[in-house]
């Protein structure tokens, strides 16, 4: 590298020369050179990313307009290039905004909104346009028709990378068969090596957007994904920022922009989840940080040689003996009533006493008198050394602050500490208070900690003992708890806006205050039902489960995690389970290994949930699909290409809980299935052995073969439904008996379809005629080892058909004669 240092002395103006080559770069130019940041790093990937951006845009557009999305994606081979066409049925774009949406980077409605949406920065689709013009040199061809307009607008445009503005080459009206919507056609360099990712992306999009109809046509394949529901995702609402998630710079900006006068008003106006009470808490926390707290010293008790009354009397002159005495008594009593007292509390109390005595004696105690009295009492309380006192004497007699400090320190430190050491520490800490310039003994927490540290350091030095960090922290905490927030008025907004330090105190105070989590109406989770519907739609499995967690907050942004699991059926059993990752309803296709979702799935002990997991960690094996959706006003991604969710602990925890919730359902399904399998096996074997045994027994005893259904039902803990018919005059008496040999209560739904009208139905059963057949419905509840009987009469020639529901088929034995 050339060293300019060596030439500094010889040539002047080097800085100017260098400055000449420095110039502003447009955002479009920057991304032109850094395509990988947006996911356009290779031809294969570029195509997938372009599809992704276009589809995300289309979905957002349709949903915002309350339209069920219907999206068509086509990829055509076009010479050396690929042509990508994406059509939607969205509301269409106006002539004015259309070029900007597609031809200007960082143009969008999303960036400033705290609301869940797929795109956020307004980079995506214009970056795809940029990528296409860079690789093929061809403009983007866009058609858009707004609802109700008779014609569609047609544009051909490129991004002017110098200016970051759209450059329109063709602008005309055209006809289009869609009543409303937008169509974009991009030609770009690319290849279909990432075909699998492309298919995955479309399929996974269909899973999390069961309300959307998707179609993908590419040179080798054509898929249609029909809707699973007609229910649009709930509309989201924009929210104000949450106090826990804003940075100092943002607050400074907000302070200068707000109309509020007071901090309380500012907090309530500009932030979500802040009312009067919360604002007060924040302001108290702010006072503690900004002004510090005042130390409350213990009030003197009888044994102490502190005469509050005398101090008042001495400091009060010319007020008459009675009034003075009453004033002194009132103060002395009020002080004695309190366990501990801080300076401002004393001042208030003196004022109260003054008012009371004035009411009674008619003598006014003015501000100066009050000040004198308060000062005198405070001095007495904190044992301020008198000017005239002999220094030797004060050294002998111990300050009463030491006793206070000793009590606090002794309670806060471990019992192993030597009494003398605590005492030494206490007197040093008390001395720090006495040395305080501010007689009110006002300290912030960090100042207090400094005092404690200093006293502890000295103690370590002189007493040669260790006074560790935990002990120091405990003492600080104990003293801080005793100290009290001061009543000073907080500064006004305009005072605050110029004061960086005070604002910083405010931000700290906001973070330290407990505030309700942000509202979730800004989020639109898929909901567990629709996740199951989505999985059912795209995966032919035996079992589906889903869980949607309650909203949580990470750095001020609310988020919701949802998980779903599909198991068995047609899902391939070989290899490890598929993990589908989603953020704000967008499938994440790349960088699986870097994603928090994958990390969490791997960290779960899947064996507990009945899945095979080699080595007890990592992805589980077997026919399973695990999907995780993170929805947030601001999903933290590892990079701008938005391929992987960053490892934020709060989000990871929620992902884990959501997956475990769904996995618990999977576990009980698998357990049940295993026990049913076992039961089936047993039933199969016994179903063979017992009839053989019965046959043999009959042979040996030379009798008819015995009836064995009851015995089998009992052995299998089964529910047995049997019909008995008995001639009864002209017709026959029919009884359907339900015997419950299982260990639980069973609710059955028995339908007997009879070809003739049944008479004298027993209680609880109904008969409905339908096309010459009578449906006898009966819903008995039979407890364990009990039986229930349905009885009716019917003509002799009637035919029956018994149907039983409500009991698993493996547990059910129906004997229909």
């Amino acid at each position: 590298m050339t060293s300019f240092q060596s030439t500094l002395g010889e040539e002047s103006g080097i800085a100017e020369e260098l400055a000449e080559s420095q110039q502003a770069i447009s955002i479009a130019e920057f991304f032109e050179k850094n395509k990988h940041m947006l996911g356009f790093d290779s031809g294969a990937r570029g195509l997938v990313t372009a599809v992704k951006e276009a589809v995300d845009n289309a979905l957002d557009a349709a949903e915002e307009a309350g339209i069920l999305p219907d999206i068509y994606v086509e990829i055509q081979e076009s010479g050396d290039y690929y042509k990508l066409i994406v059509e939607d049925n969205g509301p269409g774009l106006t002539k004015e905004s259309l070029p900007k949406v597609f031809g200007k980077l960082l143009y969008g409605s999303r960036f400033h909104a705290r609301e869940q949406s797929r795109g956020q920065q307004g980079i995506g689709i214009s970056a795809a346009v940029l990528y296409s013009q860079l690789t093929s040199g061809k403009p983007a061809k866009i058609t858009s028709r707004t609802q109700g307009s008779s014609e569609a607008e047609y544009f051909e445009l490129i991004v002017d990378t110098d200016e970051n503005e759209p450059e329109i080459s063709v602008e005309e009206t055209t006809s289009w068969d869609r009543p409303h919507g937008t169509r974009i056609e991009l030609e770009m360099e690319g290849n279909m090596r990432a075909r699998q990712q492309l298919h995955d992306y479309i399929k996974h999009t269909a899973v999390v957007n069961p309300h959307a109809r998707l179609e993908l046509k590419e040179p080798n394949a054509h898929f249609k994904f029909e809707r699973g529901t007609d229910q649009l995702p709930e509309e989201t609402e924009e929210i104000r920022p949450h106090p826990h998630g804003v940075e100092l710079g943002t607050v400074i900006k907000m302070l200068s922009a707000t109309d509020s006068q007071t901090i309380s008003g500012f907090l309530q106006e500009e932030f979500t989840r802040v009312g009067k009470k919360t604002a007060d808490s924040v302001i108290d926390a702010f006072r503690d940080r900004h002004y510090g707290r005042e130390m409350r010293w213990s009030s003197p008790d009888d044994t102490e040689d502190v005469d509050v009354g005398a101090a008042v009397s001495e400091a009060t002159a010319n007020k008459g003996a009675d009034a003075t005495a009453a004033f002194a008594d009132a103060i002395a009593d009020a002080v004695a009533d309190r366990e501990r007292i801080a300076h401002h509390e004393l001042i208030d109390l003196v004022a109260e006493a003054a008012d009371a005595v004035e009411d009674e004696h008619g003598t006014a105690f003015g501000e100066t008198v009050q000040e004198n009295a308060g000062g005198a009492v405070w001095s007495a309380l904190i044992d301020a050394p008198e000017e005239t006192a002999d220094p030797d004497e004060s050294a002998v007699e111990e300050s009463r602050l030491v006793t206070d400090c000793y009590e606090l320190a002794d309670a806060a430190t471990s019992t192993r500490k030597d009494d003398a050491v605590i005492h030494g520490f206490a007197s040093r800490l008390a001395a720090k208070f006495e040395d305080e310039d501010d007689e009110r003994h006002r300290l912030t927490r960090s100042q207090l900690r400094e005092h404690v540290d200093r006293a502890a350091d000295l103690t370590e030095e002189y007493d040669e003992v260790s006074f560790g960090d935990t002990a120091r922290e405990n003492v600080t905490e104990a003293v801080w708890d005793v100290m009290v927030t001061v009543p000073d008025d907080p500064p006004l907004v305009r005072e605050l806006s110029g004061d960086r330090d005070a604002t910083s105190d405010l931000v700290d105070a906001m973070r330290a205050t407990d505030i309700m989590a942000p509202p979730t109406r800004c989020l639109s989770p898929i909901t567990d039902d629709l996740i199951e519907a989505g999985l059912e739609k795209e995966f032919d499995a035996d079992f589906y489960a889903a869980a949607t967690r309650d909203a949580e907050v990470h750095s001020g942004d609310p988020f919701v995690v949802e998980a779903g699991i599909a198991y068995g059926g047609e899902i391939p059993a070989e290899g490890s389970a598929d993990v589908l990752r989603f953020a704000n309803r967008v499938p994440l296709v790349y960088q699986r290994g870097a994603c928090a979702t994958t990390d969490v799935v791997k960290s779960i002990g899947w064996r507990n949930y009945g899945l095979d997991q080699p080595g007890g960690s990592g992805l589980p094996n077997g026919p399973a699909v695990i999907m995780v959706h993170v929805a947030s006003t601001n999903v933290p991604f590892t990079s701008e290409s938005k391929d992987a969710v960053a490892n934020v602990p709060a989000i990871e925890d929620e992902i884990e809980l959501a997956i475990r919730e769904a996995a618990r359902e999977l576990k009980s399904f698998l357990n049940k299935r295993r026990s049913m399998e076992k039961r089936r096996k047993k039933q199969n074997v016994l179903g063979k052995i017992l009839p053989e045994m019965a046959e043999k027994v009959a042979e040996v005893t030379d009798r008819e073969e015995p009836e064995i259904d009851d015995a089998i039902a009992r052995i299998m803990n089964n529910v047995l439904v049997e019909r008995h018919c008995e001639a009864n005059g002209d017709g026959q008496a029919v009884s359907v008996v339900v015997e419950n040999h299982s260990s639980t209560n069973e609710s059955l739904e028995v339908t007997d379809i009879v070809s003739a009208e049944p008479r004298n139905l027993s209680d609880g059963a109904t008969a409905v005629e339908m096309d010459g057949e009578w449906f006898v419905k009966w819903e008995p509840e039979v407890s364990s080892e009990d039986e229930a009987v349905l009885e009716y009469e019917v003509d002799n020639d009637a035919a029956f058909d018994l149907d039983v529901k409500g009991v698993e088929s493996a547990k059910l034995t129906v004997t229909d004669q």
Binding site: L690, E692, M693, A698, P706, A711
Partner: protein
């Protein structure tokens, strides 16, 4: 054995099958209960002076796949036994096991001979008919008697009268599988000497011990077969002969004595019929090892385990056995019967046995 007896046994078996039939018809789970055949479930019957099964029962129920298979096999076996009795045939336990292979139902076939043996025991207990009355016999018995005894045996080829000294060769009279077909005619014997090993039996016969002392020498051949125990019991009961047992000085031999005297755990249901509680143990006692300074082997781990488990065995909880077993554990040694040869071939007949027998007041 009379045809009447056979008919009765057959009916007992068919009753059992009928019981299963009725259970099916009543909608019950087919089952049968048998006493649990373990050491912890045998108790002393003071009236009969033998060890019998206690109250604990195991149920063979069709409730489980295993139980259902067992019952299926039981029904097939019942059919087989009933047919066998009807045709007046007999078969061995091992034959039953192989025969099951020919059954049309593979589920009913036995997996191993222990299973078929166990099932026969179950059926004995439940029906109250002995195996012999089912015409089931063990594969080999081969135990013999040598001594002054005249008897009549009911054989398939007619009645035979045999004198167990004069009418037999060196090998002695072979005990039939069902000793109840024997009628004792006359005896000059003074006592019964049951001997564990063939070598010792041959030594006693060679030395003419049976003639000299009027002893009935019964060869136990290791753990005695039921027939051997049954004939010993009958000889004792019917001819009023004292029974002595002469075995090796190790824990396994004590068990041989135990099954002669008290009955075995597996056939405790037949104790009354098989056991001779008055039987006395001659030796080799652990005390003899010390007294006669016999050549020894050290106790192996399994020997020690066996001795310790005998200390817990209700059948061995007498002062005599506790003393002997504890002594043996203390010296840590065991001796065989034939170790007496260390003192000369005639030592056993001229010194050891006369001394022990007179100590025991048998001669």
């Amino acid at each position: 054995m009379s045809a009447e007896n056979d008919q009765q046994a057959r009916e007992q078996l068919l009753d059992l099958a009928a019981q299963f039939y009725d259970q099916f018809e009543l909608g019950e789970i087919p089952h049968m209960s048998v006493p649990t055949r373990t050491k912890s479930n045998i108790e002393y019957d003071e009236q009969k002076d033998v060890w019998v099964y206690g109250d604990r029962e195991s149920t063979r129920s069709a409730n489980s796949v295993r139980g259902a298979r067992k019952l299926l096999k039981a029904v097939y076996t019942i059919e087989f036994l009933a047919n066998q009795l009807e045709q007046d045939r007999s078969s061995t336990l091992r034959e039953l096991y192989y025969l099951s292979e020919s059954w049309d139902n593979t589920e009913a076939q036995f997996n191993d001979q222990d299973e078929s043996n166990g099932l026969i025991e179950d059926l004995e207990i439940v029906s109250g008919v002995t195996r012999e009355d089912f015409h089931m016999r063990p594969e080999e018995s081969g135990a013999t008697i040598m001594g002054p005894l005249h008897l009549r045996e009911q054989t398939r080829r007619g009645e035979r009268e045999i004198h167990c000294q004069e009418d037999v060769g060196e090998g002695g009279y072979q005990i039939p599988n069902n000793p109840d077909t024997i009628e004792f005619l006359d005896t000059d014997a003074d006592f019964i000497l049951a001997v564990e090993t063939g070598g010792m039996r041959d030594r006693l016969v060679e030395n003419g011990f049976d003639e000299e002392y009027n002893a009935l020498i019964v060869h136990l051949k290791g753990q005695p077969a039921r027939a051997t125990r049954r004939i010993t019991k009958r000889l004792h009961d019917e001819l009023d002969l004292p029974v002595t047992v002469f075995a090796d000085g190790d824990p396994w031999s004590y068990r041989i004595y135990g099954s002669v005297a008290y009955g075995s755990i597996k056939s405790a249901h037949l104790s009354e019929y098989l056991a001779t509680p008055e039987a006395q143990y001659i030796g080799i006692q652990p005390a003899d090892i010390v007294e006669y300074d016999l050549p020894t082997d050290p106790l192996s781990d399994s020997d020690i385990n066996a001795l310790e488990s005998e200390l817990e065995d209700p059948r061995f909880q007498t002062d005599y056995w506790e003393e002997q077993i504890e002594l043996q554990l203390e010296i840590g040694k065991k001796s065989e019967q034939q170790s007496l040869a260390a003192r000369g071939l005639d030592f056993v007949t001229e010194t050891y046995l006369p001394e022990r027998l007179s100590e025991m007041n048998v001669i």
